[in-house]
């Protein structure tokens, strides 16, 4: 059973196709790096895979279930451009809230555990409003991983993270890989992404220009993919 599968996905804005006939399958345990220029359609595709946006045509399934099925959503963790935590609540309250929404058996313990894993346990009762940028990013990461999702969808996760947050995230991603969980991340930071990735997909003006395993060439020469499959 594939972890994530998109079949014939089109997304129109008005009459203009932002995504054209995207079909890809991602197997459990793999890490897919989604590459492409700004405006190519990476965020659009990720939002559709996360169930935040409906494709104009085509279907998306997570673990064999339709993406809007609550059982599928229970297994998706998202990290987008916004941190998606509430300013007026404390770090603990935020995680406790999301743990409850995801139906975790012991939300209190889960919240405390993830505060510790992201190094926020000492500020657990501090309001997010008062956090530094790095602390907010780490809390966002905690929120995304909190319910141990099988599938992680990350939109440019390394942008705007400080060193500590990047380290936390890289550890968590490596751990996710070892637990056979699936990661799809879009990025501009080719270096970090290509190190983690097992597979690579290049989106160009809404269409899938390349999809396949990450090869050693790509790792040595990050620009290779764009030169050979990208636009002139």
């Amino acid at each position: 059973m594939t972890a994530v599968s998109a079949a014939g996905v089109w997304k129109y804005y008005g009459d203009y196709p932002a995504l054209k006939n995207i079909s890809l399958t991602v197997e459990p345990g793999s890490c897919l790096a989604l590459l492409g220029r700004n405006g190519a359609g990476k965020t659009t595709l990720l939002r559709i895979l996360a169930g935040l946006s409906q494709p104009s045509r085509g279907t998306v399934s997570i673990g064999g279930l339709a993406v809007r099925d609550p059982r599928a959503r229970r297994n998706i963790g998202i990290l987008g451009h916004g941190i998606a935590v509430y300013e007026e609540f404390s770090a603990y309250e935020n995680l406790r809230l999301f743990a409850g929404l995801y139906g975790l058996a012991d939300p209190h313990r889960a919240a405390l555990e993830w505060l510790e894993r992201t190094g926020l346990d000492r500020v657990k009762d501090g309001l997010v409003r008062e956090f530094s940028r790095g602390m907010r990013q780490r809390l966002a990461v905690a929120r995304a991983f909190l319910h141990n999702p099988h599938v992680l969808l990350l939109d440019e996760p390394f942008t705007a993270l400080d060193d500590r947050a990047i380290a936390v995230l890289q550890n968590l991603l490596a751990e996710a890989r070892s637990q056979n969980r699936t990661v799809i991340l879009s990025t501009h930071q080719l270096r970090e992404a290509l190190e983690l990735a097992t597979h690579v997909a290049l989106i160009q003006r809404g269409a899938l220009a390349y999809a396949g395993e990450r090869t050693p060439i790509m790792l040595e020469d990050p620009g290779w993919l764009y030169r050979n499959y990208g636009e002139a």
């Binding site: 169930g51 609550p70 959503r73 451009h81 809230l97 409850g100 929404l101 139906g103």
Partner: protein, 226 residues
Amino acid sequence: MSFFRHSVQIASKDLRAELRTKEALNASLSFALVILLLFSFAFDPTAEQTREISGGLLWLVFAFAGALILNRSFARELTNDCLDALVASPVSGPALFTGKCLANMALLVAVELICLPVFGIFYNVRWAHRFWPLLLTLILGTWGITVVGTVFSALTVNLRLRELMLPTLVYPLLIPALMAAIQLTTGLLAGQPLAAELTNWLKLLIGFDIIFTALALGLVETVLMG
């Protein structure tokens, strides 16, 4: 059932957040009280006039004050893209909607229950002897306002001129409910029993609530999906 659990979780989150900042609550309450006082001062109505306009005045105040609360309802999810996290979670659209309706309802009814004694004092109107039928009217009328207002709060959340669009869209839709609530309130305060004519307005209000709750629950998922 997870629907009820999620609704309660969302409702308590919204209430906790609002009680912490009290932004919408303060704005709504101050606005309502100021309008009530201004009207009393500007029109200086006689006892007879007050009896005729009591329902209209109260419900217009509640509708305007309610818009301030309803606007915040989904707007509070915009900071940091929290709405995305909620929509991506296992919480269904209808559960999210119901949770927010419950929270908005609690806040708006609280504002109304504060306005009622203030109204009684400044307009010299006795209301306590009709409290229970009045409470029924408040709850039914406010539910109508809340249900329509919350679904359009979701719809207008990302629009330009959100604060203008919400009242523009919602008030005309609410006219039957407001009218029924106004007739009921005026009648009850004038001493009419809850029978005959007044029960027809009650039935209209209940019918409105049922129809629009069903419609909102059916369409809210469509509204929330990008």
